[in-house]
Symmetry: C2
Subunit: 254 residues, 2 copies
């Protein structure tokens, strides 16, 4: 978000290069354009390849550049604002939900999730996988963990097909009285399976949104949603923002 | 958040190593302990240094490891839950605010911020710097941009001292009728000045929270808060979560 300096601080060499490159992106390149290769760029700016690479990494972190397999480094479009938790008074899968069901399996939850759910690590939980698309691009992959004990009715092994099982689990959840939910956001790295869904390399930085759903006086479901950090800005609408003319995505655009 | 596999996918070598290392951290190391050096670790796990380094980078992204200047790589404590926007019905600096005033200068806003504020890039704005500490550690550095035209009364150049100027600007803001605010979270890299405040290296991954404050029918202030991504999990309390016995920080702990 800019480079305003409140006082003079020593900056590493790649940092200055980053600012210069960033200006060049604004003035000489358009969105989607492929950058010259590293050798050419290093020569043009008179820096070592290692310095150039550090600057490119920074610009990638900040969402200015994208590196894509088989394409190279391109100028990124402004990040998309993706609303997190607009359906916060309802269960996952309720009407207007932005998620598409993918698959559902019975399994065990990772230890940290089992703790949050208050179940033992070897207790069977439904593991629901859903994806979220925005403007035709995959933006998030979600795993929703629901202990089988929380939704005893209706979801049996004889429900065939991944998406049918997803719908059956969500339907059972929706029968419970939702008492509340909360959310946390943290930095993570894309697991192999999520990376595939998101068209990213495993280990790419992602924003992990963990949502806890409360019913029956306890946590009955935990969703771990992995958002692409390169293309997404997560927006939290607190239901009290007046509609201003300039509150669209473009308002944040560089 | 665990390594649940819904189907078999090929994983890069460092990914498997990451899982093995993660288990070793759980079973053999305690929080704050310094890891053996890269050469020793590579030898122990029978991998190339480059593979090891990739795995360590992943674990750092996920908040399992910390790299500190002059200390080396240590086992990180669980991330702290840091509430974002608990004061969402009030102006910055209102009672109970978690931020400490640092400094205030007159300057111009970065182009993107000027656009959000609806001012021209050369219009003078107050730039308020504040820091946030949690449990004695710096967790966030904030720049709050307020056009001088939005707070015409009282804040003059003859208010001496950084924190006095911060308070003067915030006091003027608080006289306006707050109509609402919204928030967005995205990945960024620490600018040199923020890095210094946060005790990080410039360019370290950070979570950038941008808050827009609405009054007088427009956006009158924009706060850009840079949170340490290694130590913080941002929590969003939507004011509707029932108080459960297990909703503390530890509930997410690994």
């Amino acid at each position: 978000m800019g480079t305003t300096q409140l006082e003079t601080v020593p900056e590493p060499k790649y940092w200055h290069l980053k600012t210069v490159l960033s200006d060049a992106l604004d003035s000489e390149f358009s969105v989607g354009e492929v950058l010259p290769n590293e050798r050419e760029l290093a020569a043009r700016f008179g820096v070592a390849r290692a310095t150039l690479r550090q600057a490119l990494e920074q610009l990638e972190l900040e969402g200015r550049l994208q590196r894509r397999r088989g394409v190279g480094t391109t100028v990124a479009p402004p990040r998309m604002g993706v609303a997190v938790g607009p359906e916060r008074h309802s269960w996952p899968g309720s009407g207007g939900d932005a998620w598409q069901p993918v698959d559902c399996e019975a399994g065990t939850a990772p230890a940290a999730i089992a703790r949050v759910l208050g179940v033992s690590p070897d207790e069977t939980v439904h593991i629901v996988r859903r994806n979220r698309m925005t403007r035709g691009q995959p933006v998030a992959a979600e795993l929703l963990y629901v202990p089988t004990s929380a939704v005893p009715g209706g979801v049996t092994a004889d429900v065939q097909g991944g998406t049918a099982r997803v719908r059956a689990v969500l339907r059972e959840l929706q029968r419970l009285d939702l008492e509340g939910q909360d959310r946390a956001v943290e930095l993570g790295s894309a697991r192999a399976e999520d990376a595939k869904q998101l068209d990213r390399l495993p280990g790419a930085p992602v924003l992990v949104v963990t949502t806890r759903y409360f019913a029956l006086g306890r946590t009955v479901a935990v969703a771990v949603a992995t958002y692409r950090a390169d293309t997404c800005r997560l927006t939290f609408d607190e239901g009290e923002s007046p509609r201003l003319a300039a509150t669209g995505d473009g308002a944040y655009a560089r």
